[in-house]
Symmetry: C2
Subunit: 208 residues, 2 copies
Protein backbone atom coordinates (compact mmCIF):
# COMPACT_ATOMS: atom_id res chain seq x y z
CA UNK A 1 0.00 0.00 0.00
CA UNK A 2 2.87 2.32 -0.93
CA UNK A 3 0.54 4.83 -2.57
CA UNK A 4 -0.66 6.01 0.81
CA UNK A 5 2.58 7.94 1.24
CA UNK A 6 3.14 10.79 -1.17
CA UNK A 7 6.12 12.64 0.31
CA UNK A 8 6.70 14.88 -2.68
CA UNK A 9 3.37 16.69 -2.31
CA UNK A 10 3.14 20.06 -0.58
CA UNK A 11 0.84 20.24 2.43
CA UNK A 12 -1.79 21.86 0.20
CA UNK A 13 -1.28 19.05 -2.31
CA UNK A 14 -1.69 16.44 0.40
CA UNK A 15 -4.91 18.09 1.53
CA UNK A 16 -6.31 18.10 -2.02
CA UNK A 17 -5.32 14.47 -2.52
CA UNK A 18 -6.98 13.51 0.79
CA UNK A 19 -10.13 15.43 -0.20
CA UNK A 20 -10.33 13.55 -3.51
CA UNK A 21 -9.90 10.23 -1.68
CA UNK A 22 -12.61 11.05 0.86
CA UNK A 23 -15.02 12.03 -1.93
CA UNK A 24 -14.15 8.88 -3.91
CA UNK A 25 -14.68 6.64 -0.86
CA UNK A 26 -18.09 8.24 -0.20
CA UNK A 27 -19.25 7.90 -3.79
CA UNK A 28 -18.08 4.28 -3.90
CA UNK A 29 -19.93 3.51 -0.63
CA UNK A 30 -23.14 4.92 -2.16
CA UNK A 31 -22.92 3.58 -5.72
CA UNK A 32 -20.37 0.79 -5.75
CA UNK A 33 -17.12 0.83 -7.72
CA UNK A 34 -18.72 -0.03 -11.04
CA UNK A 35 -21.14 2.90 -10.60
CA UNK A 36 -18.41 5.41 -9.77
CA UNK A 37 -16.53 6.98 -12.65
CA UNK A 38 -13.34 8.98 -12.20
CA UNK A 39 -15.06 12.02 -13.69
CA UNK A 40 -17.85 11.87 -11.07
CA UNK A 41 -15.17 11.93 -8.38
CA UNK A 42 -13.40 14.85 -10.06
CA UNK A 43 -16.61 16.89 -10.22
CA UNK A 44 -17.67 16.05 -6.65
CA UNK A 45 -14.21 17.00 -5.36
CA UNK A 46 -14.28 20.24 -7.38
CA UNK A 47 -10.92 19.76 -9.08
CA UNK A 48 -9.90 20.20 -12.72
CA UNK A 49 -9.10 17.36 -15.09
CA UNK A 50 -5.39 18.15 -15.03
CA UNK A 51 -5.35 18.28 -11.21
CA UNK A 52 -7.13 14.92 -11.08
CA UNK A 53 -4.58 13.39 -13.46
CA UNK A 54 -1.76 14.87 -11.38
CA UNK A 55 -2.92 12.94 -8.30
CA UNK A 56 -4.44 9.83 -9.89
CA UNK A 57 -3.56 8.93 -13.44
CA UNK A 58 -6.47 6.50 -13.90
CA UNK A 59 -9.31 4.74 -12.08
CA UNK A 60 -7.05 1.85 -11.12
CA UNK A 61 -4.58 4.17 -9.38
CA UNK A 62 -7.44 5.93 -7.63
CA UNK A 63 -9.01 2.66 -6.42
CA UNK A 64 -5.64 1.45 -5.12
CA UNK A 65 -5.24 4.66 -3.12
CA UNK A 66 -8.86 4.46 -1.87
CA UNK A 67 -8.17 0.96 -0.48
CA UNK A 68 -5.17 2.19 1.52
CA UNK A 69 -6.98 5.35 2.61
CA UNK A 70 -10.11 3.44 3.65
CA UNK A 71 -8.12 0.83 5.60
CA UNK A 72 -6.44 3.59 7.60
CA UNK A 73 -9.62 5.61 8.01
CA UNK A 74 -11.62 2.58 9.22
CA UNK A 75 -8.86 1.69 11.65
CA UNK A 76 -8.69 5.27 12.95
CA UNK A 77 -12.46 5.38 13.49
CA UNK A 78 -12.43 2.13 15.43
CA UNK A 79 -9.39 2.95 17.52
CA UNK A 80 -10.43 6.33 18.80
CA UNK A 81 -8.84 6.93 22.20
CA UNK A 82 -12.16 6.47 24.04
CA UNK A 83 -12.36 2.93 22.72
CA UNK A 84 -9.00 2.01 24.26
CA UNK A 85 -6.79 -0.82 23.06
CA UNK A 86 -9.27 -3.70 22.76
CA UNK A 87 -7.30 -5.44 25.49
CA UNK A 88 -10.09 -6.17 27.99
CA UNK A 89 -13.57 -7.72 27.89
CA UNK A 90 -14.93 -4.27 28.67
CA UNK A 91 -13.02 -2.71 25.74
CA UNK A 92 -14.28 -5.41 23.36
CA UNK A 93 -17.86 -4.81 24.45
CA UNK A 94 -17.42 -1.04 24.03
CA UNK A 95 -16.01 -1.59 20.56
CA UNK A 96 -18.95 -3.84 19.59
CA UNK A 97 -21.44 -1.32 20.98
CA UNK A 98 -19.88 1.56 19.09
CA UNK A 99 -19.75 -0.49 15.85
CA UNK A 100 -23.46 -1.24 16.18
CA UNK A 101 -24.32 2.38 17.00
CA UNK A 102 -22.41 3.74 14.01
CA UNK A 103 -24.37 1.47 11.66
CA UNK A 104 -27.67 2.33 13.32
CA UNK A 105 -27.00 6.06 12.85
CA UNK A 106 -26.46 5.43 9.13
CA UNK A 107 -29.59 3.24 8.94
CA UNK A 108 -27.30 0.33 7.97
CA UNK A 109 -26.43 1.89 4.61
CA UNK A 110 -22.95 1.33 3.25
CA UNK A 111 -21.93 -1.44 5.69
CA UNK A 112 -18.21 -1.61 6.39
CA UNK A 113 -16.67 0.67 3.78
CA UNK A 114 -13.48 -1.35 3.76
CA UNK A 115 -15.19 -4.76 3.76
CA UNK A 116 -17.37 -3.50 0.96
CA UNK A 117 -14.30 -2.58 -1.14
CA UNK A 118 -12.97 -6.07 -0.41
CA UNK A 119 -16.22 -7.71 -1.54
CA UNK A 120 -16.16 -5.78 -4.80
CA UNK A 121 -12.46 -6.04 -5.64
CA UNK A 122 -11.13 -9.26 -4.11
CA UNK A 123 -11.18 -11.18 -7.41
CA UNK A 124 -10.03 -8.31 -9.64
CA UNK A 125 -6.23 -8.89 -9.62
CA UNK A 126 -3.51 -10.26 -7.32
CA UNK A 127 -2.07 -6.87 -6.40
CA UNK A 128 -5.45 -5.45 -5.38
CA UNK A 129 -6.18 -8.58 -3.36
CA UNK A 130 -2.83 -8.16 -1.57
CA UNK A 131 -3.71 -4.52 -0.75
CA UNK A 132 -7.07 -5.64 0.67
CA UNK A 133 -5.39 -8.43 2.65
CA UNK A 134 -2.98 -5.87 4.12
CA UNK A 135 -5.96 -3.78 5.24
CA UNK A 136 -7.57 -6.73 7.02
CA UNK A 137 -4.17 -7.63 8.55
CA UNK A 138 -4.05 -4.22 10.27
CA UNK A 139 -7.35 -5.08 11.94
CA UNK A 140 -6.31 -8.60 12.85
CA UNK A 141 -3.12 -7.26 14.42
CA UNK A 142 -5.15 -4.90 16.58
CA UNK A 143 -7.31 -7.75 17.90
CA UNK A 144 -4.37 -10.13 18.32
CA UNK A 145 -2.37 -7.61 20.34
CA UNK A 146 -5.29 -6.94 22.65
CA UNK A 147 -6.10 -10.63 23.13
CA UNK A 148 -2.45 -11.49 23.72
CA UNK A 149 -2.26 -8.79 26.41
CA UNK A 150 -5.38 -10.29 28.01
CA UNK A 151 -3.83 -13.75 28.04
CA UNK A 152 -0.48 -12.47 29.34
CA UNK A 153 -2.30 -10.60 32.10
CA UNK A 154 -4.18 -13.77 33.02
CA UNK A 155 -7.65 -12.54 31.96
CA UNK A 156 -7.78 -15.30 29.34
CA UNK A 157 -6.86 -18.92 29.97
CA UNK A 158 -3.58 -20.25 28.52
CA UNK A 159 -5.39 -22.34 25.90
CA UNK A 160 -7.09 -19.24 24.42
CA UNK A 161 -5.61 -18.67 20.94
CA UNK A 162 -5.34 -14.90 20.17
CA UNK A 163 -4.92 -15.64 16.46
CA UNK A 164 -8.06 -17.78 16.22
CA UNK A 165 -10.09 -15.36 18.34
CA UNK A 166 -8.94 -12.41 16.22
CA UNK A 167 -10.25 -14.17 13.09
CA UNK A 168 -13.53 -14.92 14.85
CA UNK A 169 -14.01 -11.29 15.97
CA UNK A 170 -13.19 -9.80 12.56
CA UNK A 171 -15.25 -12.50 10.81
CA UNK A 172 -18.28 -11.76 13.00
CA UNK A 173 -17.86 -8.05 12.34
CA UNK A 174 -17.57 -8.38 8.56
CA UNK A 175 -20.36 -10.94 8.19
CA UNK A 176 -22.63 -9.11 10.61
CA UNK A 177 -22.08 -5.84 8.74
CA UNK A 178 -22.89 -7.37 5.34
CA UNK A 179 -26.06 -8.99 6.68
CA UNK A 180 -27.20 -5.86 8.53
CA UNK A 181 -26.47 -3.79 5.44
CA UNK A 182 -28.49 -6.14 3.21
CA UNK A 183 -31.39 -6.71 5.64
CA UNK A 184 -31.29 -3.08 6.89
CA UNK A 185 -31.67 -4.13 10.50
CA UNK A 186 -29.49 -4.26 13.58
CA UNK A 187 -29.87 -7.88 14.69
CA UNK A 188 -27.35 -9.66 12.41
CA UNK A 189 -24.49 -7.33 13.39
CA UNK A 190 -25.45 -7.16 17.06
CA UNK A 191 -25.99 -10.91 17.45
CA UNK A 192 -22.85 -11.86 15.47
CA UNK A 193 -20.67 -9.60 17.62
CA UNK A 194 -22.37 -10.74 20.82
CA UNK A 195 -21.73 -14.39 19.95
CA UNK A 196 -18.05 -13.79 19.12
CA UNK A 197 -17.48 -11.81 22.32
CA UNK A 198 -19.39 -14.40 24.39
CA UNK A 199 -17.01 -16.99 22.95
CA UNK A 200 -13.98 -14.91 24.00
CA UNK A 201 -15.57 -14.49 27.46
CA UNK A 202 -16.08 -18.25 27.73
CA UNK A 203 -12.28 -18.49 27.75
CA UNK A 204 -11.91 -16.10 30.70
CA UNK A 205 -9.83 -17.36 33.61
CA UNK A 206 -12.63 -16.69 36.05
CA UNK A 207 -15.37 -18.08 33.82
CA UNK A 208 -18.30 -18.81 36.16
Amino acid sequence: MADVKTPRLTSKGRATRARILGVAADLIAKRGIAGTQIDDVRRAAGVSGSQMTHYFKDKRTLIKAVIAWQAQSTLDTHTRPELGHLDSFEALRRWAGSTVERQRERAFEGGCQFGSLAGQLVESDAETRADLAAGFEQWLELFRKGLLAMRDRGDLRREADPEALAYALLGAMQGGLLLSQTLRRVEPLRDSLNAAIAHVESLATSNP
Copy 2:
Protein backbone atom coordinates in the same frame (compact mmCIF):
# COMPACT_ATOMS: atom_id res chain seq x y z
CA MET B 1 -37.46 -13.24 -6.83
CA ALA B 2 -40.24 -13.96 -9.31
CA ASP B 3 -37.79 -14.30 -12.21
CA VAL B 4 -36.67 -17.69 -10.95
CA LYS B 5 -39.93 -19.20 -12.23
CA THR B 6 -40.44 -19.16 -15.97
CA PRO B 7 -43.44 -21.45 -16.53
CA ARG B 8 -43.88 -20.53 -20.18
CA LEU B 9 -40.55 -22.01 -21.27
CA THR B 10 -40.30 -25.50 -22.76
CA SER B 11 -38.05 -27.95 -20.92
CA LYS B 12 -35.36 -27.26 -23.54
CA GLY B 13 -35.85 -23.52 -22.96
CA ARG B 14 -35.55 -23.97 -19.22
CA ALA B 15 -32.32 -25.92 -19.69
CA THR B 16 -30.86 -23.19 -21.93
CA ARG B 17 -31.87 -20.51 -19.45
CA ALA B 18 -30.31 -22.48 -16.58
CA ARG B 19 -27.12 -22.95 -18.62
CA ILE B 20 -26.85 -19.21 -19.26
CA LEU B 21 -27.37 -18.50 -15.55
CA GLY B 22 -24.70 -21.02 -14.52
CA VAL B 23 -22.22 -19.51 -16.97
CA ALA B 24 -23.08 -15.97 -15.82
CA ALA B 25 -22.66 -16.93 -12.14
CA ASP B 26 -19.24 -18.49 -12.86
CA LEU B 27 -18.01 -15.49 -14.85
CA ILE B 28 -19.21 -13.10 -12.14
CA ALA B 29 -17.46 -15.17 -9.44
CA LYS B 30 -14.20 -14.91 -11.42
CA ARG B 31 -14.34 -11.30 -12.64
CA GLY B 32 -16.92 -9.49 -10.56
CA ILE B 33 -20.12 -7.96 -11.91
CA ALA B 34 -18.45 -4.86 -13.34
CA GLY B 35 -16.01 -7.08 -15.26
CA THR B 36 -18.73 -9.29 -16.73
CA GLN B 37 -20.53 -8.03 -19.83
CA ILE B 38 -23.70 -9.63 -21.14
CA ASP B 39 -21.92 -10.41 -24.42
CA ASP B 40 -19.18 -12.37 -22.56
CA VAL B 41 -21.93 -14.46 -20.98
CA ARG B 42 -23.62 -14.98 -24.35
CA ARG B 43 -20.39 -16.21 -25.94
CA ALA B 44 -19.42 -18.45 -23.02
CA ALA B 45 -22.89 -20.00 -23.01
CA GLY B 46 -22.75 -20.48 -26.79
CA VAL B 47 -26.07 -18.84 -27.56
CA SER B 48 -27.00 -16.30 -30.24
CA GLY B 49 -27.77 -12.65 -29.57
CA SER B 50 -31.48 -13.17 -30.24
CA GLN B 51 -31.60 -16.19 -27.91
CA MET B 52 -29.87 -14.19 -25.21
CA THR B 53 -32.38 -11.35 -25.58
CA HIS B 54 -35.23 -13.87 -25.48
CA TYR B 55 -34.17 -15.03 -22.01
CA PHE B 56 -32.65 -11.84 -20.57
CA LYS B 57 -33.46 -8.53 -22.14
CA ASP B 58 -30.56 -6.67 -20.48
CA LYS B 59 -27.78 -6.98 -17.92
CA ARG B 60 -30.09 -5.89 -15.13
CA THR B 61 -32.59 -8.66 -15.87
CA LEU B 62 -29.74 -11.16 -16.06
CA ILE B 63 -28.25 -10.04 -12.72
CA LYS B 64 -31.65 -10.25 -11.04
CA ALA B 65 -32.06 -13.82 -12.27
CA VAL B 66 -28.48 -14.69 -11.24
CA ILE B 67 -29.26 -13.54 -7.66
CA ALA B 68 -32.30 -15.84 -7.42
CA TRP B 69 -30.46 -18.71 -9.13
CA GLN B 70 -27.38 -18.33 -6.93
CA ALA B 71 -29.45 -18.16 -3.72
CA GLN B 72 -31.16 -21.43 -4.64
CA SER B 73 -27.97 -23.08 -5.87
CA THR B 74 -26.04 -22.13 -2.71
CA LEU B 75 -28.87 -23.40 -0.55
CA ASP B 76 -29.03 -26.69 -2.50
CA THR B 77 -25.29 -27.23 -2.15
CA HIS B 78 -25.40 -26.66 1.58
CA THR B 79 -28.50 -28.76 2.21
CA ARG B 80 -27.44 -31.91 0.43
CA PRO B 81 -29.11 -34.91 2.09
CA GLU B 82 -25.84 -36.08 3.71
CA LEU B 83 -25.66 -32.80 5.62
CA GLY B 84 -29.06 -33.38 7.20
CA HIS B 85 -31.26 -30.64 8.59
CA LEU B 86 -28.79 -28.60 10.67
CA ASP B 87 -30.85 -29.59 13.69
CA SER B 88 -28.13 -31.09 15.91
CA PHE B 89 -24.67 -30.09 17.14
CA GLU B 90 -23.28 -32.88 14.99
CA ALA B 91 -25.09 -31.58 11.88
CA LEU B 92 -23.82 -28.03 12.50
CA ARG B 93 -20.24 -29.29 12.80
CA ARG B 94 -20.64 -31.36 9.61
CA TRP B 95 -21.98 -28.30 7.80
CA ALA B 96 -19.04 -26.17 9.01
CA GLY B 97 -16.55 -28.87 7.99
CA SER B 98 -18.04 -29.20 4.54
CA THR B 99 -18.13 -25.41 4.07
CA VAL B 100 -14.43 -25.21 4.95
CA GLU B 101 -13.55 -28.16 2.68
CA ARG B 102 -15.37 -26.70 -0.30
CA GLN B 103 -13.38 -23.46 0.02
CA ARG B 104 -10.12 -25.31 0.49
CA GLU B 105 -10.73 -27.29 -2.73
CA ARG B 106 -11.19 -24.01 -4.58
CA ALA B 107 -8.09 -22.52 -2.95
CA PHE B 108 -10.39 -19.89 -1.37
CA GLU B 109 -11.14 -18.28 -4.72
CA GLY B 110 -14.59 -16.85 -5.23
CA GLY B 111 -15.69 -16.95 -1.58
CA CYS B 112 -19.43 -17.35 -1.07
CA GLN B 113 -20.87 -16.76 -4.53
CA PHE B 114 -24.09 -15.43 -3.06
CA GLY B 115 -22.41 -13.28 -0.39
CA SER B 116 -20.16 -11.93 -3.08
CA LEU B 117 -23.16 -10.85 -5.19
CA ALA B 118 -24.55 -9.19 -2.06
CA GLY B 119 -21.28 -7.33 -1.44
CA GLN B 120 -21.25 -6.00 -4.98
CA LEU B 121 -24.93 -5.16 -5.40
CA VAL B 122 -26.35 -4.29 -1.98
CA GLU B 123 -26.24 -0.52 -2.59
CA SER B 124 -27.28 -0.61 -6.25
CA ASP B 125 -31.09 -0.20 -5.87
CA ALA B 126 -33.88 -1.09 -3.42
CA GLU B 127 -35.32 -3.93 -5.51
CA THR B 128 -31.95 -5.66 -5.87
CA ARG B 129 -31.31 -5.26 -2.16
CA ALA B 130 -34.69 -6.87 -1.44
CA ASP B 131 -33.79 -9.81 -3.71
CA LEU B 132 -30.47 -10.23 -1.86
CA ALA B 133 -32.23 -9.99 1.50
CA ALA B 134 -34.65 -12.72 0.39
CA GLY B 135 -31.68 -14.95 -0.44
CA PHE B 136 -30.15 -14.47 3.01
CA GLU B 137 -33.57 -15.05 4.59
CA GLN B 138 -33.73 -18.53 3.05
CA TRP B 139 -30.48 -19.32 4.84
CA LEU B 140 -31.57 -17.80 8.12
CA GLU B 141 -34.78 -19.81 8.01
CA LEU B 142 -32.76 -23.01 7.58
CA PHE B 143 -30.67 -22.24 10.69
CA ARG B 144 -33.66 -21.03 12.71
CA LYS B 145 -35.67 -24.16 11.99
CA GLY B 146 -32.80 -26.42 13.01
CA LEU B 147 -32.05 -24.46 16.19
CA LEU B 148 -35.72 -24.34 17.14
CA ALA B 149 -35.95 -28.12 16.75
CA MET B 150 -32.88 -28.46 19.00
CA ARG B 151 -34.48 -26.27 21.65
CA ASP B 152 -37.84 -28.06 21.41
CA ARG B 153 -36.07 -31.39 21.74
CA GLY B 154 -34.23 -30.14 24.83
CA ASP B 155 -30.73 -30.12 23.29
CA LEU B 156 -30.57 -26.33 23.77
CA ARG B 157 -31.55 -24.52 26.96
CA ARG B 158 -34.81 -22.53 27.01
CA GLU B 159 -32.96 -19.18 26.99
CA ALA B 160 -31.19 -20.02 23.69
CA ASP B 161 -32.58 -17.67 21.01
CA PRO B 162 -32.79 -19.46 17.62
CA GLU B 163 -33.13 -16.11 15.81
CA ALA B 164 -30.00 -14.60 17.40
CA LEU B 165 -27.99 -17.81 16.92
CA ALA B 166 -29.07 -18.02 13.26
CA TYR B 167 -27.72 -14.49 12.68
CA ALA B 168 -24.48 -15.41 14.45
CA LEU B 169 -23.98 -18.58 12.37
CA LEU B 170 -24.70 -16.87 9.04
CA GLY B 171 -22.63 -13.83 10.06
CA ALA B 172 -19.64 -16.03 10.96
CA MET B 173 -20.00 -17.86 7.66
CA GLN B 174 -20.21 -14.72 5.51
CA GLY B 175 -17.44 -12.85 7.32
CA GLY B 176 -15.20 -15.91 7.50
CA LEU B 177 -15.68 -16.52 3.77
CA LEU B 178 -14.81 -12.95 2.82
CA LEU B 179 -11.67 -12.99 5.00
CA SER B 180 -10.55 -16.42 3.77
CA GLN B 181 -11.17 -15.33 0.20
CA THR B 182 -9.14 -12.15 0.65
CA LEU B 183 -6.30 -13.70 2.70
CA ARG B 184 -6.39 -16.96 0.68
CA ARG B 185 -6.11 -19.10 3.78
CA VAL B 186 -8.38 -21.37 5.78
CA GLU B 187 -8.06 -19.93 9.30
CA PRO B 188 -10.54 -17.02 9.17
CA LEU B 189 -13.40 -19.21 7.92
CA ARG B 190 -12.53 -22.19 10.14
CA ASP B 191 -12.04 -20.10 13.29
CA SER B 192 -15.14 -17.93 12.70
CA LEU B 193 -17.35 -21.00 12.26
CA ASN B 194 -15.73 -22.78 15.21
CA ALA B 195 -16.39 -19.77 17.46
CA ALA B 196 -20.03 -19.47 16.38
CA ILE B 197 -20.66 -23.20 16.86
CA ALA B 198 -18.84 -23.19 20.22
CA HIS B 199 -21.21 -20.41 21.26
CA VAL B 200 -24.23 -22.50 20.24
CA GLU B 201 -22.73 -25.47 22.14
CA SER B 202 -22.25 -23.31 25.24
CA LEU B 203 -26.06 -23.13 25.35
CA ALA B 204 -26.48 -26.91 25.35
CA THR B 205 -28.63 -28.36 28.11
CA SER B 206 -25.88 -30.71 29.21
CA ASN B 207 -23.12 -28.14 28.90
CA PRO B 208 -20.20 -29.58 30.87
